[in-house]
């Protein structure tokens, strides 16, 4: 499945969030990640995030079982990191 994840967390936890998300997903822009992920990896990611965030922080994850009826559009620059071909 495919997920889009974004977060708004306290300054002290920003870099931790960035590191954890980078293990599972592709960076798109500040505080936004996306990518294919397996069900079990998503659970692992959620549990890692759960250990970082505090009550006042917010993380939103959109989960798509399939992308058939979706379209990705970018206005301006696409900052998404290329990870397939380096």
């Amino acid at each position: 499945m495919f997920v889009i994840l974004y977060y708004d967390v306290g300054v002290k936890r920003v870099s931790k969030m960035l590191k954890v998300c980078r293990k599972y997903l592709t960076w798109v822009q500040n505080s936004v990640f996306e990518g294919e992920i397996s069900y079990s990896n998503l659970e692992r990611l959620k549990s890692e995030i759960g250990r970082i965030i505090k009550d006042e922080d917010s993380v939103v994850i959109y989960v798509f079982n399939q992308m058939l009826y979706s379209k990705r559009e970018v206005l301006g620059k696409d900052k998404k990191e290329e990870t397939k071909f380096l």
Partner: protein, 331 residues
């Protein structure tokens, strides 16, 4: 489904914050999501260290290296995680016993030939003159069943391959591509360059799937086992070369995805440049991720999964659970 990544640029691959980064020569950092990774193909000049290798091993990620021409150099095959002494002994037992060995070897040659015939019939139905090639291959397939020694089997296999490759000139309709004869080292024309590159990739892909099973990649049946090199992946690749590799070759040429400009020549060697390699990989990956419906499972599975399932069929043969019959394309 975990991903494969391909590194063409020069730079350093390293472990950082429990994940992977690739640092380019321009000092740009590219982050690679390690938890979603299953293998890395390296084409460029990449530096790496033992710390990285240890990390890849822990994460069960295989890394394969290719030289400038796209030829396979070798792989880092991480520490086995599906170790079964019982299965390895069975594998060896079926290798040592000539009758048992030749049964598997014959089935591999037969599977490869029948899948090649499927391709030829497909193009025959689209008006290509392939009647002679088809009937010649069929005649040789008949011979397989009477063979009792590996060298003889290799001869017939070679004959089938030769006829099959000659048919490529009928299938490919592009003036820039003419097949002369199969020459591996070095590839002597563009079609040979594509075949060699495609085979190199498929060998590594099959090797990665073997890693996900209980089989030992060093013991093959058609290709003799010598302990310097993997051979089981060469065996299983035979069945998938026509289905995955050759169909990709025809589609990149006939749909003008890859053209004359994607090749380079040095001395008498023809090979794909980086742009050509990349385009080929993109189409090959699409093919690998394409799915077909399997009645026994009742679900769609990808071609990559079909490779793993082919290995499981071999395991079941070794366990005397089900007699091995190779995958013959039906769709």
């Amino acid at each position: 489904m975990k991903e494969t990544i391909y590194i063409f640029s020069a730079g350093t691959l390293k472990r950082e914050d429990n994940s992977l980064v690739f640092i380019t020569e321009e000092n740009q950092k590219k982050h690679i999501p390690v938890e979603n990774l299953k293998e890395i193909f390296v084409f460029g000049e990449v530096n790496l260290n033992k710390r990285l290798i240890e990390f890849l091993s822990k994460k069960e990620i295989m890394i394969s290296f290719f030289n400038h021409y796209g030829f396979y150099v070798g792989s880092f095959y991480p520490r086995e995680h599906y170790n079964s002494g019982f299965m390895i002994l069975k594998q060896a037992q079926y290798y040592i016993d000539n009758e048992k060995r030749i049964y598997i070897a014959k089935k591999i040659v037969e599977g490869a030939a029948r899948n090649s015939l499927k391709i030829l019939r497909y193009y025959k139905n689209r008006g290509r003159k392939l009647d002679n090639h088809i009937s010649e291959i069929e005649k040789n397939v008949e011979k397989i069943f009477r063979i009792e020694e590996i060298p003889k089997l290799m001869q017939v296999e070679g004959k089938i391959k030769k006829i099959y490759y000659e048919s490529f000139n009928e299938i490919i309709n592009s003036s820039g591509f003419k097949f002369t004869k199969r020459g591996r080292r070095p590839p002597i024309d563009r079609i040979n360059a594509l075949i060699s590159f495609s085979n190199s990739l498929i060998y590594s892909i099959v090797l990665r799937e073997i890693y996900a099973t209980h089989l030992d990649p060093r013991i093959g049946y058609l290709h003799s086992t010598n302990f310097r090199r993997f051979s089981l992946n060469l065996d299983i690749a035979e069945i998938f070369k026509p289905i995955i590799g050759d169909r990709t070759i025809f589609s990149v040429i006939n749909k003008n995805i890859i053209g004359v400009k994607d090749f380079e020549k040095s001395l008498n060697r023809v090979f794909l440049n980086d742009r050509g390699k990349r385009k080929f990989i993109e189409i090959l990956e699409k093919r690998l991720n394409e799915t077909v419906k399997l009645r026994k499972i009742g679900r769609n599975v990808s071609y990559r999964t079909l490779i793993r399932m082919e290995l499981y069929k071999l395991e079941k043969h070794l366990l005397e659970d089900e007699v091995y019959e190779p995958l013959i394309m039906e769709w």
